[in-house]
């Protein structure tokens, strides 16, 4: 079986009924997609298969033979982030980060389909992704910011009290 992951082609040794998630993580060491529930319920294993968001825990390799797979690693790196990654960072759309690989890939796919979603449409599109930490508000804010075309190039990627980096009472 052959798949292309983040631009690199791989010949896989895992048996055809292995889930794409396990093949990515265990055989190819691509650990961005997380193992949440392995039952299609949480969304953190989401990757783009030929541009479409898919739960990799539910996809046997046999069904993705020849496909082009993009994981969170393929979107950008800490130095050169995808605008959606930068927006999640800037808007504090991730706390523990466990949901982020799925949230971000699914959000990128959403804006591909619908560049100007309403808040309700974002909620529906990401409704199958569970986040235990953020309460979702800042995730929605981040997706809206990218849709608005906000740019984070060279932006100071931390927001703090009134632009100050340190709390008051800083010098004793």
């Amino acid at each position: 079986m052959k798949i292309t992951v983040n631009g690199a082609e791989h010949e896989l040794a895992s048996p055809p009924l292995t889930s794409l998630l396990n093949a990515l993580r265990d055989e190819l060491n691509v650990t961005g997609p997380k193992v949440g529930c392995q039952g299609g319920n949480c969304g953190t294993c989401t990757v783009l298969v030929d541009g479409e968001p898919r739960r990799s825990c539910l996809l046997p390799l046999a069904m993705v033979d020849g496909a082009e797979v993009t994981t969170i690693e393929g979107l950008g790196t800490p130095k050169r982030m995808h605008p959606m990654q930068a927006a999640f960072h800037f808007y504090y759309g991730s706390q523990c980060g466990f949901c982020a690989p799925g949230m971000i890939t699914a959000s990128v796919a959403l804006l591909e389909r619908n560049p100007n979603p309403t808040r309700k449409q974002i909620q529906n599109a990401l409704g199958g992704h569970i986040c235990r930490c953020t309460g979702y508000v800042k995730i929605i804010d981040a997706v809206e910011a990218v849709a608005r075309g906000e740019s984070f190039d060279g932006a100071e990627l931390t927001r703090s009290r009134g632009g100050e980096a340190t709390p008051k009472g800083a010098s004793a």
């Binding site: 949440g36 529930c37 039952g39 319920n41 949480c42 504090y92 991730s94 706390q95 523990c96 980060g97 466990f98 974002i122 909620q123 529906n124 990401l126 409704g127 199958g128 992704h129 569970i130 986040c131 235990r132 930490c133 953020t134 309460g135 979702y136 508000v137 800042k138 995730i139 929605i140 931390t158 927001r159 703090s160 009290r161 980096a165 340190t166 709390p167 008051k168 009472g169 800083a170 010098s171 004793a172």
Partner: protein, 373 residues
């Protein structure tokens, strides 16, 4: 069939950290020869933002820019002791520990700088990584130069400091009255939650349209993180109020949710409007006056939604989660005239003695007989 709107209020008080259990955090800070700061702390950041907050606290207490500070929590085997990430203790207890350590480092930097500049260290201060004489900023030396000199010219000293924060046990002074020798808690945070809901009296379904949350958090070291804690806590509280029952037939483990399809956590689709405000009423002992803002943010929503249900349809549902089944059963009872609506809620007697023993006071003499009434 009709939908009824209701509004309910709940207030909470939250003691920061686990003060009665000898709950301590240690930290160690070293100033490298280039003036950059390494913080080793046992406080693990699980997404609560303590790493960022600790960075800010150290930068502020030491007087250097935030980006000079690295917080390393990667290995709890090698790090100093920390009791754990729970009970809203990280910024408060862990934050105090790193602050104390940073103050020691600052003191040592001032001593060395004092010698180098031939000025009494008491007349020096540090801001933005520069040590300077108060009132005479032209007499100055950078923290990097001090650290460099300590390492390469003044005998190879590694400037470092340790800090421990612990709230000691309260001891009973008088068995008769139960008077104790210190406050049992280091800081109390306060909060309130208002729920605006709609109840469907045919299906028993409750939908929260809006939460209004208010919290006294002492001082927001990082307001964005505080916002995240409040929004996240509110949605978790929404789950506890309406959806989540880890043991539906407690204590029997039967019918426990085995996956996210049967144990329902709130999703983005359930998201109500969340409005909140923070009050900053500084605590005496917290770092820069901070209190806690983690766990308490998910404590108010259960009772506020229950109160809103009473406001909407006149029944008290006194068990969480407030499922359609429970709401319908309460409505049925009310229709049959069986159960007069309870206006006083449910009293829970808090057993202080049991509670103190349960958190493991090592000293058998510690008995807490204080009667609040």
């Amino acid at each position: 069939m009709a939908r009824h709107k209701g509004r309910g209020l709940a207030t909470i008080e939250y003691p920061t950290g686990m003060n009665q259990s000898g709950d301590l955090t240690q930290s160690w800070i070293k100033l490298k020869h280039d003036g950059r700061v390494d913080v080793l702390s046992g406080t693990v950041d699980i997404g609560n933002g303590s790493k960022t907050a600790h960075r800010q606290i150290v930068a502020a207490a030491l007087g250097v820019p935030v980006d000079w500070v690295t917080v390393d929590v990667s290995d709890t085997d090698a790090s100093p002791w920390d009791t754990g990430t729970f009970a809203s203790r990280c910024t408060f207890i862990g934050g105090n520990a790193v602050k104390i350590a940073a103050e020691r480092v600052r003191e040592r930097v001032l001593e060395i700088a004092g010698k180098m500049l031939e000025i009494d260290p008491a007349d020096l201060t540090i801001e933005e990584g520069v040590v300077f004489a108060r009132g005479a900023p032209e007499t100055n030396i950078s923290v990097s130069d001090v650290a460099h000199a300590a390492t390469w010219q003044l005998g190879g000293e590694l400037i470092s400091g340790t800090g421990t924060f612990v709230k000691p046990f309260a001891k009973i002074l008088d068995q008769e009255t139960g008077r104790i020798d210190r406050d049992p808690h280091a800081a109390l945070s306060y909060g309130a939650s208002v729920a605006e809901i709609e109840v469907d009296d045919e299906t028993g379904e409750v939908r929260v349209e809006r939460f209004i949350e208010a919290y006294d958090i002492g001082y927001a070291i990082n307001p964005t993180i505080v916002e995240g804690q409040i929004q996240g806590g509110t949605v978790m509280g929404l789950g506890l109020a309406l959806l989540e029952a880890s043991y539906p037939y407690y204590p029997s483990p039967e019918h426990r949710g085995a996956d996210f399809a049967s144990y329902m956590a709130p999703s983005m689709v359930d998201l109500p409007q969340i409005d909140f405000l923070c009050l900053e009423n500084p605590s005496v002992e917290g770092p820069f006056g901070a209190k806690a803002c983690g766990e308490m943010a998910n404590n108010g929503q259960g009772p506020s939604v229950a109160a809103a249900i009473h406001d909407a349809v006149g029944v008290w549902v006194t068990e969480l989660p407030l499922t359609p089944e429970r709401v319908l059963r309460a409505l049925e009872k009310k229709a049959a005239g069986e159960d007069a609506p309870r206006v006083d809620g449910k009293w829970v007697i808090f057993d202080e003695e049991l509670s103190i023993n349960a958190v493991g006071a090592p000293d058998a003499d510690v008995k807490f007989t204080f009667d609040p009434f």
